[in-house]
Symmetry: C2
Amino acid sequence: MATAEANALGYNLQVDYVIQYSFGDIDQPQAIENLQKLLRALNDVGLQTEVRQGDESSLLIFVRASKGQLKRAVYRSRVRDWLYGIRNTEPEPADSIDPHAETEAERLRVINHLITLPTQEGGAGITPQHGEWKNVTAVFPLHDEETNKRWMREWSQKTFLSEDDLDQIRNKFGETVGFYFAFLQSYFRFLIFPAVFGFGCWFLLGGYSIIYTVVNSLWCIIFVEYWKRQEVDLGCRWQTKGVSAVQTKRREFKPEKEVVDESTGEVRGVFPTTKRMQRQLLQIPFALLAATALGVIIATCFAIEIFISELYNGPLKTYLVFIPTILVSALVPTMSAVLVSIATKLNDYENHETSDGYDVALTQKVFVINFMTSYLPVLLTAFVYVPFASWIVPHLDVFRLTVRPFVSKEHSIAKRSNFQIDPARLRNQVIYFTVTAQIVGFAMETIVPYIKQHAFRKYKAFNKKRNGRSERNGDKESPERQPAIVFDDPAEEVQFLTRVRNEMELSEYEVTEDLREMCIQFGYLALFSPVWPLVPVSFFANNWIELRSDFFKICNEFRRPTPLRSDTIGPWLDTLGFLSWTGSITSAALVHMFSGNPQQGPNGEPTDIKGWALLLSIFLSEHLYLAVKYVVQTAMGKLEPPNARKERAERYLLRKRYLESTLTVPTEADSAEDDPSGPPGLSRVSLENEARRSSMQDTDPAERFWMRQRGWSESAKVGAGIIQAQPIARNTKKQQ
Amino acid sequence: MATAEANALGYNLQVDYVIQYSFGDIDQPQAIENLQKLLRALNDVGLQTEVRQGDESSLLIFVRASKGQLKRAVYRSRVRDWLYGIRNTEPEPADSIDPHAETEAERLRVINHLITLPTQEGGAGITPQHGEWKNVTAVFPLHDEETNKRWMREWSQKTFLSEDDLDQIRNKFGETVGFYFAFLQSYFRFLIFPAVFGFGCWFLLGGYSIIYTVVNSLWCIIFVEYWKRQEVDLGCRWQTKGVSAVQTKRREFKPEKEVVDESTGEVRGVFPTTKRMQRQLLQIPFALLAATALGVIIATCFAIEIFISELYNGPLKTYLVFIPTILVSALVPTMSAVLVSIATKLNDYENHETSDGYDVALTQKVFVINFMTSYLPVLLTAFVYVPFASWIVPHLDVFRLTVRPFVSKEHSIAKRSNFQIDPARLRNQVIYFTVTAQIVGFAMETIVPYIKQHAFRKYKAFNKKRNGRSERNGDKESPERQPAIVFDDPAEEVQFLTRVRNEMELSEYEVTEDLREMCIQFGYLALFSPVWPLVPVSFFANNWIELRSDFFKICNEFRRPTPLRSDTIGPWLDTLGFLSWTGSITSAALVHMFSGNPQQGPNGEPTDIKGWALLLSIFLSEHLYLAVKYVVQTAMGKLEPPNARKERAERYLLRKRYLESTLTVPTEADSAEDDPSGPPGLSRVSLENEARRSSMQDTDPAERFWMRQRGWSESAKVGAGIIQAQPIARNTKKQQ
């Protein structure tokens, strides 16, 4: 680790952060003044700076923290953690901190705090793209390409990442990213079982097998519970347990009033929780809106598709069949985008205090949208099309009007009579979503951007060369080209600076996106895999690649993320629980409806499904699910994760040590008054005490009571007396 | 408080604990030796003793803790708490503890520890009724009758107990009892609303009104969540948060092996959790057994009752109708007793480590039995008798055979034809369980024992007088009477000792019994109150009495309980949640089945209930319930209970104070190296450093990179240069 880091430092010329300062949109003097302000601010918190040219309208400011400052900053942050109960051990004083002992992630996080924290908290108070610092367009650390490359190489050879690998990811990119990969890893590892089992079921039992369904939802339960436990474990292992307490405030948070916390004596802006809750009630109408809006679109396109593919057979059918697909892929994303923007507005309105709370709330809102777009089509096929097709389809004639020009009367009549639902539709749809869509998604998120990026760079390089030539031809004046030609970089830095400029052009990484993807995937497994037991197999294969490609993505297609801490994958955890629960309902319904005749299930006539039987099986399966879940939870709760135990023991020892240092010996008078060695009543001191007392307060009944027997031996005598008084009688009785 | 306590002390002659030592079953020398051992042991931990006669076969050993010992013991226990994170503040050293500052409960708890804790933990290691101490038949503190009487008087005048009253209860009887009364109090307070609302509904809408049902289950949710919050609050208020961590081991716990906890270095016996879990699996068959056993009994008696009351009308009917009642009240308790004993055996077999864990497990098992005995009859009526009567009743002819001798043929024929279910049965049953049964219960648990007790004392007094007389008549020899005549007590102590002897004869108080009662009551409210909306009214009235009578019970019919700590009502909390959940199912079903014709509901023909509609309404209501519950939970979770906030702030301040005491100033060298006042590059020291470095390691690219610009001002210049170089072009462009 330390060595790798050292390399990294050397490799990046010990640059900790790069700040991009754009001066494109303001006039010179202003720009220069701001720049000075920025540099001074950085310098004031003890950060060393170097300025280079970024591109035609921006500067690169390289930042390095001096050892002493770094030490002090690290100390400050650790103490802060300790205050909030994240660290159990009190941090050793600043001077004794070895600046290479702590992880790269911690160092970067601390320096980032130095740059961004408000001045009163000991930072430079620089807020990128916000307020007076809106010219600071980006603050990012530099990738450690060598290490990244090395890891990619290593990982491509092994199936599972070791705990150590995960630690390293965490040390490079911080806990949030670490948690994502840890999750992906355990999910991947857990997929082995259903993959094998599913393959077996598919081979032997085909789809809709009860056995598979039961095992599958049992697996879901165990996985979710396991991961909860794992989070605790990682939280202890990475010392981020309860880190959410130290969340820094959101810049956008608008406090309603300033109050002095009478107990802690800190002045802080507050926004009444109740008020926020009232605002949060808007989520309900929003959810309904989103559901209906997307529902209508999807349902309509769905109906059109059925109409065209199965009812209509007029001319142009070959072309018309594409209409619904086009419509969906055109309308759904647009609508989602609109809804997301609304969700964001709502979220801003809720005015969350911490960025954490903000993200959670937003995720919840966005999940509604995701749920609709991801699962609704399949749900429609399974629970609307299959049972009710024969009722609904006739009403699809409305579309007939639209295509009247093409279709002649007898067609329509001919068709409607012998309509037959497509038995394979459901399975095909599931296969599409769990295989095709996954691959497409992978392509879209990883390969395409990569190609685009390279194409772009190629173009720039070419452009530069041409300009170079044209320059030799002596036209220096073409202004917008000129910057692209010569950055007067010192020769030895050229390569380095090009790399930095390339990284500068990349966009920021959002881990939540990748998490969402995984949860949605998990959803398919929980909700629909009984339809086609090979789903887990496909996911298993997919996630092996996913894990690598995501890492590749972070390293090559995004700026290196600023390390953030976290002790959970956050709201997505609830999502997982929710999905596996819903799964217990849908899969029961699916199995009940289709297991009878796996070939096609009901023939579109709802009559042959017993409503009460269906509902009963759903009811039973759901409650069985909940019962099992409860059992698993309690069982897992009893097994304490290793790191948690270690952490607890550590805390215990810490307190104990502290205690021993403060433990007091009993004072002289004390020990004399009642020295345990001899009966207190008989020790000289207390005898006198007794005497004095009795003489003093002869009247006190209590004292008289307690003075009847002096010390335990007298009591014993008295007791013996009483005992001897009694049992003779009994003994005699015994003898009689 | 302090004054009241002082009184109490004076009143009880400063006796802290009374130990009952029975020598009835062993011979004299043995008895005397044991007594000496006991007294010495007590003395060794610094407890002062006085011996008096108990009854013919037992001694009373009065125990008082000397100030110094008490101080040290209190300190030890507080430190222990602090070690386990129950106290945030480190306790002040022993000498500075004011032995009257701490509550009576704490003092008694500590002294109890002094008596019972094993010697290595600083106690006398006396284990009543166990091992070598089996002659110690009881260890109990004395009631503070004056205070108790005063409280009874005060409370009988007011409707609600104040927080202060609860604190006092806790100070006298410890947290477990305190928590029970706190719970009873909040439950009682919460009942106001449903009582009023229920009365309104009953008056306006009659039974089975949807509105009432919805409001009722909403109320259940809120109450349960509120109480959870309340527990946290009380836990902080009474400083017992996380107290379950300090549970003392069960004496009966059989460790499988001794291990040295490598991290804490403590040797402790362990029993593998997994093994215990395997054993706990036996709960499942047990639950099934209990359910069936009780189910069969209840169902049979139920059937017989229906047969006799509604089918049979032969001779002797007037007498026969009592048979089922007799059977039930004979068989059910017997069976329950059997099952409870099985449950206890199972629980022992599970070999729990802490008495807490043991109680929890036992409660869970016993709850199954309670559930059956309390709710099954009503459930049978509602969901078997009412819908299926007309199917089932004919099959009851089996009983006809048994009564063949009495009944003539035509009777039977005559009857079966025009059978009619009794529409009022369900409501009557509910009324019986929620009114009659409550009153009966109250009588059984409070009044009857009180009468018995007094009768007993009267008898003894009478007996004594007679013996007194007979003694004067000179027959001294009648041995078994003799002890009953004269305890040679000092005159002034007679009254006191009689009181003590009376208390000695009482039995021990078990708070869990009362809790169970309340939870079962809550169950009726959640499950069946839609049938008869006056249920909460009845409970409201009942609980006003319950609260007083329970207190009365503790004071007069039980020994004063040894104060125990707790931060929850324990497993009963889950029970409440479970019951209110089940309520969402049953009440939905009830309303769906009966709301149509409130007069009588379905006429015994299942045909007129739509299976799917019923199940659908259950499904919907349940999920609505869960959704609402989730919302309420999250909402309540956001509102931090006052004491919890205080506690957090306190912890925070504690740490902060501690921090400030350890905060180090940056050392000289440190601050010199990069003094924030001026740009580090320009400060003398660092200039030299720079020079030295550059000369030394000219080759290091990083150093060269960082030495190009010395300090922020140079950077600024360079930056300005670049900026000026650029924008001319742009400006010119702009102008174009």
